[in-house]
């Protein structure tokens, strides 16, 4: 490469633009460009940082563009070496590779954290090479997470090649096309144990769950929950999975035993539970319209025959709560981007044992629906 070409490459690299490199020379090219950055940065040696290797399989150019935007948004909050694996029907016969830098500046303008992004693109069938490439490109001694969000990618890539090197699997149940996938996910979670599975959908439900849980803090306490007779979860059409996770969460924590499932006339689902004291709880998943984020949950209503405890979403980041002993109260909901959730999933919140337990319950609930001759599969 001529000195002028090298210079041009470096300038593009420093601007965060992708540089095409030989697949066999990725590390060497990265090393050379970072070395040049140290000489040209003007602020002394640059420090490359990576707390995680983050592997993101994706299918098609459009999905690749979305993935790259996601990585750009994650980088300022969590230094990662992102390894994006893309299957592209229009790609040529061989794998191609590009490298990019992600630079996070401090408020005064100085550069403080440098991380990098590697993208491998190949035609369908190239997934056979991805496992070996990932093993070669992992930063040594740094944990690897796999962000598995694209259902169009072959699951064999995940199961055979990526899971063995993955310390944390990150999924998004909100993007499950049908609750059926919950059972696949449950099996996957069992396979990855003891390594945790983090779910962006579960994290997205966090502020809604927190808000609902808050209704039963002192002085109300847990008494109304013990006598619950009906639970209604209102959700956007297609948001059954999130609603099912909410039901699973409450059912698990309140020790409700699932008895049967059925379809309702309004296109929703009904699950009957037995409470720990032998009483019964009717649970309804009701599809309805309204403003919502990707979690798709619009309201949780719990009744105990006398009082109602309700959280209702009024806007993407607003809700109100209703308690029998106080007037309705407006509250703010945290509005998280997918990047925020990914960062959370890489942190301690990505190790939530409660999610695995609720996932199991949700899977059981869905199998009840199947036995009832459910039509949603």
């Amino acid at each position: 490469m001529s000195e002028a070409d090298a210079r041009a490459n470096f300038e593009r690299f420093a601007r965060g633009e992708p540089i095409a490199v030989d697949v066999r020379e990725i590390e060497r090219e990265l090393g050379a460009l970072w070395q040049q950055a140290s000489h040209d940065g003007g602020t002394g040696a640059v420090a490359r940082a990576a707390l995680w290797n983050l592997v993101i399989p994706t299918h098609g150019r459009e999905a690749l563009a979305r993935t790259k935007a996601l990585v750009d948004a994650i980088a300022p909050a969590a230094p990662i070496r992102a390894i994006t694996l893309c299957l592209d029907d229009g790609a040529g016969g061989d794998l191609s590779a590009t490298i990019e830098s992600n630079v996070v500046s401090q408020p005064g303008g100085g550069r403080v954290v440098y991380s990098e992004e590697i993208t491998l693109v190949g035609p369908v069938g190239a997934e056979a090479h991805f496992g070996a490439m990932v093993r070669a490109l992992q930063v040594p001694g740094v944990r690897t997470a796999t962000l598995w969000m694209d259902a169009a990618m072959p699951s064999t890539l995940l199961v055979r090649e990526l899971l063995p090197v993955t310390r944390r699997l990150i999924v998004d149940t909100a993007s499950c096309a049908a609750p059926l996938h919950l059972q696949d996910l449950e099996r996957l979670a069992a396979r990855t144990q003891p390594r945790p599975v983090a779910d962006l959908g579960w994290l997205r439900l966090g502020s809604f769950r927190l808000l609902f849980a808050g209704l039963f803090d002192a002085p109300v306490g847990g008494a109304p929950l013990r006598g619950a007779t009906r639970l209604t979860v209102r959700h956007r059409p297609g948001g059954d999975v999130s609603a099912l996770l909410i039901v699973a969460w409450l059912g698990h924590l309140l020790h409700w035993r699932p008895l049967r499932a059925s379809q309702t006339s309004d296109g929703g689902l009904r699950f009957d539970f037995e409470r720990a004291d032998g009483g019964s709880v009717e649970t309804l998943l009701v599809p309805t319209g309204g403003p919502c984020d990707a979690s798709a949950v619009l309201a949780i209503e719990l009744e105990n025959g006398r009082d109602a405890y309700v959280v209702t979403r009024d806007a993407i980041d607003e809700a109100h709560v209703q308690l029998p002993i106080a007037p309705p109260r407006a509250v703010k909901l945290d509005a998280y981007t997918d990047a925020d959730l990914c960062v959370a999933a890489l942190g301690p919140r990505g190790r939530d044992p409660l999610f695995a337990q609720c996932l199991q319950v949700a899977g059981r609930l869905w199998s009840l629906e199947a036995r009832a001759g459910g039509s949603r599969r």
């Binding site: 408020p107 002085p219 924590l253 106080a326």
Partner: protein, 521 residues
């Protein structure tokens, strides 16, 4: 409205596994001095931000109490303006504010009027009845210090602050600084307060302790295996603690004339920071365990002998100068300040903690107004390597310095030497920095948010205990006594420093005599 029976609450099973578990019980906060600046600039914005972050209980009320006559709506309007200007979470959300403001109330009264406290009690009970509140109360004394004792006495007379008892609602009292102006007044105030309140009901606030970096100091020391082994006289050469302000007296000349930098900053803020930096590991991260260890540090402070007073204590006053490109007057030209004032606006101290860990390690403290920049930090200077393998004559190697920035830009930096690339053995200082903003992608919460929440939760770890206050005053009062003796003998030494500088030459000479220099933070 009919009174609502509040049964003893069963545990909430839905809290299992949720991240934010520290939600206080429903309560009412009564703010004395509610028409003052602190309520508008700090307290209500902090409570609003806590509400915004859903860290306050669903049922929570604020009752402002002050001498100024106004109704609930006027109080809400004034607090809204305060939140618009000062809340961390801005802009203020209209729907949330409507809900929040619905539970803001105001009551006029004098701090020493028993009838006003009976009216306050009736109003509190009415609010609690209407909102279904269980009677938990926090009383915030945001008043002039002269009102502390009368308010607490009045609370006692009105039976508003009963001593804690199992199963009964709590009553806690937050007391702003200054807690006394010397050892005698602090002891007297402690006695008066203890006539009514149990020590566990008292939350003496020092907002420095609510700052994230001050708390992180404990995490940094006691959760990282690599630092604590170095945190002693074998490895530490000396410690510098700086609390610098760019502001002058800002219209509070009358107050500052009585206080001076030593009372205003050193006795409380810097002594607290010193005690956290120098304390032994507590047996648990619990209020009394932490405060016991801090107290030991304060009790281990060596009194400065009269013979060394000039070498270990420097006080000074700012003269006219320039701050941020603007000419500013000298202290004696400030409104409310005597033209012959001897009040110090700068103080530098050299002190020793007589303990096994810190024997022989000097701690240099300085605090001043009208300094070039606003900064509070602790700098731990480590000893030089035992054999200077790489130093050249005339090119000493800079010591390793660990600096803990408390404000602004909260964070921690470690300076060390590194070889410059190339054939020569040149060494250059480099810095490893951690900043809250850039490392966690979020700014830390305001100190008052943390402290108000802790008080509501009944966690006194970040508040000052009565014996700590007295121990701190005990040491500081000796300095004041020496200055009083100097004045009586007509030997007052009060050098001037130009506003916009780092203090008088005398302070530099104090360190130079030890072969050291002040760090430029």
């Amino acid at each position: 409205m009919e009174k609502i029976a509040v049964p003893a609450a069963l545990p909430n099973p839905l809290r299992e596994g949720l991240v934010e578990e520290r939600i206080p019980e429903p309560a009412t906060m009564v703010i004395f001095g509610a028409s003052g600046d602190l309520a508008r600039r700090k307290l209500l914005p902090a409570l609003y931000s806590l509400t915004r972050d859903r860290l306050l209980p669903a049922r929570f009320a604020v009752l402002g109490f002050g001498r100024h006559a106004q109704d609930d709506d006027a109080f809400r309007e004034e607090m809204r303006r305060g939140c618009d200007e000062f809340a961390r979470r801005r802009p203020v959300d209209a729907a949330l504010w409507t809900t929040f403001a619905r539970n803001l109330f105001y009551q006029q009264g004098a701090y020493d009027d028993p009838a006003a406290f009976q009216r306050l009690k009736a109003r509190l009970e009415e609010i609690e009845r209407e909102l279904g509140l269980p009677g938990n109360r926090v009383f915030y004394l945001s008043t002039p210090p002269s009102a502390f004792a009368p308010v607490i006495r009045s609370l006692g007379q009105a039976d508003l602050a009963p001593q804690p008892a199992p199963g009964k609602p709590f009553a806690r009292v937050i007391i702003e600084k200054p807690f006394g102006i010397d050892l005698e007044t602090a002891r007297a105030l402690n006695r008066q307060v203890h006539e009514i309140l149990d020590e566990q009901q008292i939350y003496r606030i020092d907002h420095y302790l609510g700052k994230e970096t001050v708390q992180n100091l404990l995490v940094f020391r006691f959760s990282n295996g690599i630092f604590e082994p170095l945190w002693n006289n074998h490895f530490v050469d000396h410690v510098q603690i700086t609390g610098a302000e760019t502001v002058g007296v800002e219209g509070r000349g009358g107050y500052f004339e009585q206080a001076g930098s030593t009372r205003d900053m050193v006795q409380n803020h810097l002594m607290q920071v010193l005690s956290l930096a120098a304390m032994e590991p507590p047996v648990a991260f619990e209020a009394d365990a932490v405060r016991d260890e801090k107290l030991k540090v304060l009790k281990a402070l060596r009194q400065i002998p009269e013979s060394d007073f000039e070498r270990q204590v420097v006080r000074a006053q700012y003269a006219a100068g320039s701050i941020a490109g603007r000419a500013v007057p000298g202290y004696r030209q400030e409104p409310g300040v005597s033209p012959t004032s001897t009040t110090e606006t700068f103080v530098a101290l050299k002190l020793f903690v007589d303990s096994w860990r810190w024997a022989g390690v000097p701690f240099y403290l300085r605090s001043g107004k009208r300094m070039p920049k606003r900064v509070t930090e602790i700098a731990i200077y480590f000893k030089e390597a035992p054999h200077l393998l790489f130093g050249r004559k005339g090119h000493p190697i800079r010591p390793n310095v660990l600096s803990i920035r408390i404000q602004p830009d909260e964070g921690i930096a470690l300076n060390f030497g590194s070889k410059l690339p190339g054939p020569a053995m040149e060494i250059a200082p480099v810095s490893m920095e951690f900043r809250y903003g850039s490392s966690f992608g979020m700014e830390p919460p305001e100190a008052y948010e943390r402290l108000l929440l802790d008080c509501l939760l009944g966690d006194g770890t970040l508040f000052t205990r009565g014996d700590e206050v007295e121990a701190s005053w005990s040491w500081i009062s000796r300095i004041h006594a020496c200055w009083a003796a100097e004045t009586a003998a007509g030997k007052t030494t009060l050098p001037a420093y130009a506003a916009g500088t780092w203090g008088p030459e005398e302070a530099d000479r104090m360190l130079a005599a030890d072969g050291r220099a002040w760090r430029l933070p």
